[in-house]
């Protein structure tokens, strides 16, 4: 049984529909990420689960009971806010103890649990510090400690890493993963950063305009996006317009920029159907050419080469004018991945690495 069930929930602010008939099950112990651009409704979903907003229609089941109308203070859910929202007039200890004190837990027990949690977030000995004397990263840890000390059923995290600098963010990502493994609490994490979503989650929910676009493991989301929005939002994509010229068993033959290619037919495409073919920059192969490209290769010209240490990024202008993005890795077989600007090249990919979607 899922620990949270969102059944057909909708929410509007004024005339603007923020959540549109959304359904989502969250399972016990998983690390689920809501990923989407700002304004897609992901934070609202979090606030609905927390009870800080109430939905206009639909039900929210937490642990099997309908809690759609239950106020936030009565839900077994705690939140780490984007701005941390620490209480500035209390020190670290009292911030973390706040929830426990409200539950009238004996003082000794509170002390033990707060100290334990401080150790868990690596803030031993900081209990007497005023909030104003903490760094951003430390405040972040206090915010997490204040939530997990209550041992909630679900921990909600609203873009908790967005205010930290790059290095700290990477460190906190690892710490969050360890914390999740150690506590076994269900984590629901909201972010607009696809890298964060892919590295942290067991399952990613991609949202757009108040509805879910795709749910799946990070690998599924990245390798088999179900629509152009997901493909474009998660990672970089090269998108080609194409037309099916014939079907041949599990494959189809398509025409891209006057060149014939065979690709896998995973969605039952028919002859003469217009399709979009998606390719990740790292899935494309580049060959040098003297004159003519081999069969199945698209001809083009290197416009720019960007050296990035572990990779070389190429921007290639195909002969029909489309610019594509190709990433080449250094490896032992192919040391020579440097190209001259304006060098003529041929571009292709290995059959099956592409994602073919209906035209939209």
């Amino acid at each position: 049984m899922p620990v949270v069930c969102l059944n057909n929930i909708s929410k509007s602010f004024g005339s603007q529909k923020v959540i549109d008939n959304l359904c989502l099950d969250i399972f016990k112990g998983e690390f689920l990420t809501l990923l989407g651009p700002s304004g897609c409704g992901k934070t609202t979903v979090l606030r609905l689960i927390a009870g800080l907003e109430t939905c206009d229609s639909g039900t929210i089941l937490i642990n099997g009971r309908d809690q759609s109308r239950l106020p936030a203070c009565d839900r077994d859910v705690n939140t780490v806010f984007q701005s941390y929202a620490l209480f500035p007039h209390m020190n670290v200890f009292n911030n973390i103890a706040f929830g426990l004190k409200l539950k009238k837990i004996p003082a000794r027990q509170i002390r033990d649990r707060v100290m334990e949690t401080l150790a868990l977030v690596k803030l031993e000995g900081m209990d007497n510090r005023p909030i104003s004397r903490l760094s951003g990263g430390q405040q972040q840890r206090v915010a997490i400690a204040r939530a997990i000390v209550n041992q909630p059923l679900i921990l909600l995290l609203d873009e908790p890493l967005s205010a930290l600098d790059y290095k700290l963010r990477k460190q906190m990502r690892l710490d969050l993963r360890h914390l999740h493994q150690k506590l076994g609490i269900t984590f629901v994490f909201v972010t607009h950063d696809q890298e964060e979503a892919l590295t942290l989650s067991d399952r990613v929910v991609v949202m757009h305009n108040g509805s879910i676009q795709q749910t799946g493991s990070p690998k599924e989301i990245y390798e088999t996006p179900v629509n152009l929005f997901v493909a474009n939002f998660v990672g970089e994509s090269n998108i080609f317009d194409a037309r099916v010229t014939s079907t041949m068993g599990p494959d189809i033959e398509i025409q891209i920029q006057g060149i014939s290619k065979t690709v896998q037919n995973r969605r039952g495409f028919k002859k003469d159907q217009a399709v979009k073919v998606l390719l990740r920059p790292e899935d494309m192969t580049v060959e040098r050419t003297k004159d003519q490209c081999p069969k199945g290769f698209l001809p083009g010209q290197v416009k720019e080469m960007i050296y990035k240490g572990t990779t070389v990024d190429l921007i290639i202008r195909l002969d029909n004018g489309q610019d594509i993005f190709v990433t080449e890795f250094f490896n032992e077989d192919d040391q020579d991945i440097f190209y001259d600007v304006n060098e003529r090249v041929c571009v292709s990919w290995i059959k099956g690495w592409e994602v073919t979607l209906p035209y939209e």
């Binding site: 800080l52 009565d74 929202a85 620490l86 706040f98 939530a147």
Partner: protein
């Protein structure tokens, strides 16, 4: 050379600002009744103040009005500050603008307009009218001070408190109120001093039956500045200064 010019200029400014105050305070301890010559240190005039029943009555009246009006202005102003900071309503900008305009309108204009209001309404001038007038001119200061404090804190702390299990009254008493307390106290002390030393507005709205200290001093000075007035002013100055210092300290603490 340049440094010396700077120092002497600053000394001139300070002498101009604080010289008269200092003279007044020093002469409140002067034994002589009429001359401005120093004739020895004494507490005579402070003692004679204590025997002047009219003055003491006026002082008690002043303290009563200052205390009640500052308390009322603080309570109303705090609620007003919440209204402006947290709620959306029609005419909010206008309301806030009016608050500032009351703060900046000349005392004389306010005094006369309040007088006209009370006369039109048929209310006899006295304690009540004075109280209403003092609450009116203290209110904007409280609203502005408390509003700045509320606007300065992250509204998410309220969500955080609810999320951690606090009910509405717990959110208010454990989170919101402690956070705005310095501004509320500062507003209260500021109102207290404003009310205590107001002359112009009080002059218009109080009646003959209810005399307050600043007006009493004003009428005494018409007959010449006596050492008693000096002593009285010294006491008032110390009281006001203390209140302002505490208020300043409280406002400053918020910026930390």
């Amino acid at each position: 050379m340049k440094r010396w010019i700077g120092i002497s200029w600053v000394s001139c400014v300070f002498a101009f600002l604080y010289g008269p105050l200092l003279v007044l305070m020093v002469f409140s301890f002067n034994q002589a009744r009429y001359t401005s010559a120093w004739q020895g240190f004494s507490f005579t005039w402070y003692a004679s103040l204590l025997e002047n029943q009219h003055l003491l009555d006026a002082f008690v009246n002043s303290l009563t009005v200052a205390f009640v009006s500052s308390l009322a202005a603080t309570a109303m102003g705090t609620l007003g500050a919440f209204a402006v900071a947290w709620y959306r309503f029609a005419g909010k900008q206008l309301f806030f603008g009016l608050v500032y305009s009351v703060m900046m309108s000349p005392d004389i204009v306010m005094g006369i307009s309040l007088l006209m209001l009370f006369v039109t309404a048929g209310i006899h001038p006295g304690f009540f009218t004075l109280l209403v007038a003092h609450i009116t001119f203290c209110l904007p200061f409280v609203i502005v001070l408390v509003h700045a404090r509320i606007a300065g804190f992250d509204p998410a702390v309220v969500d955080a408190a609810r999320d951690l299990g606090a009910r509405e009254h717990e959110v208010f008493f454990k989170i919101v109120f402690p956070m705005i307390l310095p501004a509320v106290l500062a507003g209260w002390l500021l109102s207290f001093t404003l009310s205590l030393d107001d002359v112009i507005i009080s002059f218009f709205v109080t009646g003959p039956g209810f005399e307050i200290l600043p007006l009493k001093i004003y009428s005494m000075v018409k007959l010449g500045v006596t050492p008693e007035v000096n002593a009285l002013c010294t006491i008032l100055f110390v009281l006001t200064l203390a209140a302002v210092l505490v208020a300043h300290f409280l406002i400053k603490e918020k910026k930390k």
